[in-house]
């Protein structure tokens, strides 16, 4: 009886908050939880005539099919390594960029630099990949023309599996660093300016101030973003890999999401694609839990 009353009271006093919460909650239920019903297709031979529950159960057939493929290790490694490289190389760069922008004198110059680094984020992926093909073309691309000046023979960057991951990661850094730095700039703005003044009086130089005040000040932000990044490690964007893919770099560019797209959407092997996608999600879950535990122990910051 007592509890009921309190629920009523909460409803009455906090209804605005609850109403606001309801919107994302419903969104999650409809778009994230309801579709999970379809996961069972990973264990069934989907027949639209018979529906989800009526389709014959095939156990681990689709998983076996994936692991009987000669290239399954390759595909998982490609997915994993492209993400890993972009975290190792790409993660620190927005932080450095944010600190540089923070330290720069002059509002105008700061704004210009910020804008220039944001702009690539707004280029659509299709256009970006078209630009990459143009820039990196062995016949008339800017980069190869430039290398030619030094007598280096033209390199087919996109026509070889050797350079694919490099092109992928470097172009991602170019496109996203400016945008990702916004959150760090905001975090840096939240640090108490008295701390800097005090350090200055104590005789700390610029590097010392960055090391002892700026970085510790944004560590929680860094760790949170790192965990989130690790959580996405196996779910790198399908568009870019698919658009940059061709016969010559397929060994490095075939990742789980392009495989799922080709098998599931183009060829209609819905069960197989669901199974591979499910496996991918499980790997992801393991990784995010591991990263969270690791950060909890080392940095005392974590998602949960």
């Amino acid at each position: 009886m007592k509890q009921k009353k309190s629920i009523k009271r909460i409803l009455k006093s906090k209804w605005q908050l609850l109403a606001m919460f309801a919107v994302p909650f419903i969104w999650y239920v409809i778009f994230c939880y309801v579709p999970m019903y379809g996961i069972q297709l990973a264990f069934r031979n989907y027949n639209p005539r018979l529906g989800y529950l009526g389709s014959p159960f095939v156990g681990l057939r689709w998983f076996k099919q994936f692991f009987s493929s000669y290239y399954w290790k390759n595909i998982i490694w490609n997915t994993f390594s492209i993400s890993l490289y972009s975290i190792l190389i790409g993660f620190p760069i927005p932080i450095i960029l944010a600190i540089i922008i923070n330290e720069l004198p002059g509002r105008k110059f700061k704004k210009i630099l910020q804008n220039i680094t944001y702009i690539p984020h707004f280029i659509s992926m299709v256009v970006l990949c078209g630009m990459l093909y143009l820039f990196l073309s062995p016949q008339y691309g800017i980069l190869n023309t430039f290398l030619g000046v030094f007598g280096i023979k033209p390199i087919g960057f996109l026509e070889s599996s050797r350079y694919f991951k490099g092109v992928y990661v470097v172009s991602e850094i170019w496109q996203e660093s400016g945008w990702s730095s916004i959150i760090y700039i905001a975090a840096l703005a939240g640090i108490d300016p008295y701390l800097y003044e005090a350090a200055k009086i104590d005789g700390a130089g610029r590097l010392k101030r960055i090391w002892h005040i700026s970085l510790p000040g944004i560590t929680p932000t860094i760790v949170t973003l790192l965990i989130l990044k690790i959580g996405q490690i196996m779910s790198i964007g399908f568009e870019k890999a698919y658009l940059l893919q061709n016969d010559l770099n397929i060994q490095a560019s075939e990742i789980i999401s392009t495989l799922v797209y080709k098998q599931g959407i183009l060829q209609g092997n819905i069960g197989y694609a669901t199974a591979v996608g499910l496996m991918n999600s499980c790997l992801n879950l393991v990784l995010i839990i591991a990263a969270n535990q690791f950060c909890k122990r080392t940095f005392d910051t974590s998602l949960w």
Partner: protein
């Protein structure tokens, strides 16, 4: 209250009357005429699923469909006729939806789909209905029983119908050589591989179009894999089951790891190194190749017909001798495109739908499909031969686009019968002459891509995806000189075997054995 009840009774009566009414029509078969036109007495509507080709106009504006709807008394609902862009995705989603159209026309159903959705009961089995309701198709099958093995699924049913090409010129790519270039460098038409080398070297570096740019290529082709296929024929290999296989003495085998295949690649690599092959074949889009054909930028290239370029200065030649006892040309079987038409099992008038499609397998129907409507798009000459109206074949937009304004065949995949009398648009005199140069090199028996049981087909697809990816990458690198034949060839053979080349061949052997029984 009473009124309400009365109303309910009335409604129920109406509904059941409607139901029985419908049943009567389809059960009696009264509505369907077994011969002649119209096909049905009372008007029907078919929902049609298909792909509007890139060079075609909207289907509801086509003369062909307007005329055929009048003739048959069957109206067509074109809502599900989709653009080519993103078509495969939409087709997959349609299959998964459990809501299907009545008929599939030019829907590019592939073999896997035909077997899969046929056995799920989504496509109607037609084999028992064909003799009665599709006499024209039956006639073509009687003349060439190989068609039957091409379209029959492993469970014995026929779920989809093919396009039939009794015209051989529509089934292979011709070898086109630029005779004006030959004249300019003072060479004869090459007949052996050695002579070809000589000619290509003579072509190299000459500015034939005098524009001051090096935009001429001694030899060009759409892509590297096609190049390897064409020259595999020169090295004496067939291309059966739509892939890298040959059939000799009832044995199916592949030559992908043969020494002769290595020799062929070595030859191509040396040609590539000398700059005799267009370097863009590894990455170019088809449109770019088409532009090179139209721009007369290549000395030797490969295309089915001369509809994409002006063939005044070109001649179709035979495959080059000298590397094997017998040369082969890769060609498709008479039932070239399978899956051009199918009927959904949910369709209430399957017999009418079969009669509806059968007309296009008759001579008159094939004229409607190929030439459009008499008077508006075409005319018959004094000998009764069909011709397009003036201005269509030499249209500045290209004949394909012009014809695509009134019929659905440009772009391929349409339910049609192409024979020697209705091929004006695709087989010019030059093309027919080029075909004569190839006739002696067609394999006696051409096997089509087989329809396989679902599990076999899944296994084959896993194997072939890996084999093909690896083979494409390795052969491309070999031709580009990025891999070394002495050391890397053995690795290639070893890896192909490891991926499962033998098992892959054995699946086709089994299929072949089943075909023989």
């Amino acid at each position: 209250m009473k009124q309400k009840k009365a109303m309910a009774v009335l409604l129920t009566a109406c509904i059941s009357a409607g139901m029985f009414g419908n049943l009567n029509v389809s059960a009696d078969g009264d509505n369907l005429n077994k011969e002649g036109f119209p096909i049905v007495n009372e008007e029907l509507t078919f929902r049609i699923f298909g792909q509007q080709g890139p060079v075609q106009s909207k289907w509801d504006t086509m003369n062909m469909w307007k005329k055929y709807q009048e003739m048959t008394n069957i109206k067509l609902d074109f809502t599900d006729v989709l653009a080519a862009e993103g078509y495969d995705e939409k087709k997959s989603l349609m299959w998964a939806s459990n809501e299907y159209p009545d008929i599939f026309v030019r829907a590019f159903l592939n073999n896997t789909e035909i077997v899969k959705y046929g056995s799920m009961g989504i496509l109607a089995p037609l084999e028992e209905l064909i003799p009665e309701y599709a006499p024209n198709l039956q006639k073509l099958i009687d003349e060439d029983p190989a068609i039957l093995s091409r379209i029959t699924a492993p469970d014995g049913h026929i779920y989809a119908l093919p396009a039939i090409f009794t015209l051989t010129a529509a089934r292979d790519d011709k070898f086109w050589i630029n005779t004006s270039w030959l004249e300019q460098v003072g060479k004869e038409i090459p007949t052996t591989v050695d002579e070809l080398e000589d000619v290509l070297r003579a072509f190299k570096g000459v500015d034939f179009n005098e524009n001051g740019e090096a935009d001429e290529y001694p030899m060009g082709i759409s892509d590297a894999q096609a190049l390897i296929r064409r020259f595999a024929g020169v090295w004496g290999h067939q291309y059966q089951f739509g892939t890298w296989l040959e059939v000799k003495d009832d044995t199916v085998s592949t030559y992908l790891t043969d020494d002769s295949f290595k020799e062929e690649l070595e030859w191509l690599a040396s040609m590539y190194e000398e700059g005799l092959i267009d370097p863009e074949i590894f990455t170019q889009e088809y449109a770019k190749y088409a532009a090179k054909m139209a721009g007369q930028q290549m000395g030797l290239f490969f295309n089915q017909a001369d509809d994409t370029f002006d063939s005044t200065n070109f001649q179709g030649i035979s495959p080059f001798a000298g590397k094997a006892d017998q040369q082969y040309v890769q060609a498709s079987p008479a039932a070239r495109d399978n899956g051009v038409f199918a009927i959904c099992a949910d369709c209430e008038n399957i017999e009418a739908a079969l009669r509806w499609i059968d007309y296009f397998y008759s001579y008159e129907g094939s004229i409607l499909m190929r030439y459009g409507v008499e008077g508006e798009n075409m005319y018959f000459d004094e000998d009764g031969k069909p011709h397009y109206n003036d201005g269509i074949l030499d249209s500045p937009e290209g004949s394909g686009t012009e014809i695509g304004k009134f019929t659905i065949w440009p772009g391929g995949g349409a339910p049609q019968w192409v024979n020697d009398d209705n091929c004006e648009a695709i087989a010019s005199e030059a093309t027919l002459k080029a075909q004569e140069a190839l006739d002696a090199y067609l394999p006696k028996q051409i096997y089509a891509e087989p329809l396989l049981e679902e599990e076999t087909s899944d296994r084959l697809s896993v194997l072939w995806t890996d084999l093909e990816n690896y083979m494409k990458e390795t052969t491309s690198k070999m031709i580009r000189g990025e891999l070394n034949f002495d050391s890397d060839w053995d690795t290639y053979v070893e890896t192909m075997n490891k991926i499962g080349l033998e098992e892959w061949v054995s699946i086709y052997q089994e299929t072949y054995d089943n075909l023989q029984n």
